[in-house]
Amino acid sequence: MEILRQFAAPETVNANGDLFSALGINWMMLIFQIVAFLLLVALLGKFVYPWLIKSVDERQDKINAASKAASEAQASAADAETRVEKLLKKARVEAADIVATAKIESASALAASEEKAKKRSEQIVADAQDEIQKEVIAAKIALHNETIELVALATEKVVGKVVNTKIDETLISDALKAVK
């Protein structure tokens, strides 16, 4: 309230000379402060702000670059993921082909080995049959020879007992006649 009265009282205005004085503002100081402020602004504008702006710009550029790099990395990652997915798909297809080929090859190898084993077994059977046939022939020959030997031995025994001097004389006589 006191302050309002001072503003309202004409004497107060007149006593301090002007309104600025009444408000406690010193012109000289104000001008000085304005000049100092402007000087400060000029100095700041000349030396600090460009550096600060530059730093901010650089920081902004870095942020932008980082953002761009992050975007590129993200895109690259996505691309890589896509490529990996493609590679995986391709690898799966190739693996499936390889498995299918291996199955076919194993089946053909199995069939070939079965065929080989079959031929081998047939060969073994044929060889065994040949061997048996040879052994049978050899046994027949041996039996034949043994039979002849036995017949000869039996003949010797029988003849040895049957032949006497008289029969021997007859044999010799017939033989001599045959020679003549």
Binding site: I148, A152, T155, E156, T165, I167, D168, E169, L171, V179
Partner: protein, 132 residues
């Protein structure tokens, strides 16, 4: 130094002497002494065989007759006639051997000739021919 006589000369001499009627025992002793002295006893069998050949050439045949039983005189005569027919020899000397393993029949061995009609020989031939 003694000259090595050929077997032909030796056998010719012995055969000639035998044919001339020299004593057989004496000739055999001389031959044996000669073979022993000249260390040619291994040639004995060859010498004997050659003497038989020489005698055959001079008309004397030594025949070995092998049979299972003793041969009758008629059979011996028949054999002698057979040998004479085949060799044209004037003298036949049979030497008979008994061998039961021949079973039957007769085997006549002459110098360079053999006639085997024994049952044993026939059985051997049978074995040889029929065996595979």
């Amino acid at each position: 130094m003694a000259i090595r006589l050929s077997r032909r000369k030796i056998t010719s001499y012995i055969a000639g002497e035998l044919a001339a009627g020299k004593e057989t025992t004496l000739l055999i002793n001389q031959l044996a002494a000669f073979l022993i002295d000249s260390r040619r006893t291994k040639e004995l069998e060859l010498v004997v065989r050659d003497i038989e050949y020489e005698l055959k050439n001079q008309g004397i045949v030594l025949a070995r007759v092998t049979s299972a039983f003793d041969l009758a005189t008629a059979t011996q005569t028949a054999i002698t006639h057979l040998i004479k027919e085949h060799t044209n020899a004037q003298t036949i000397e049979l030497r008979q051997f008994i061998d039961p393993t021949v079973l039957g029949g007769v085997k006549i061995d002459l110098p360079g000739l053999q006639m085997d009609t024994t049952i044993g020989h026939r059985l051997t031939t049978l074995r040889t021919n029929l065996k595979k």
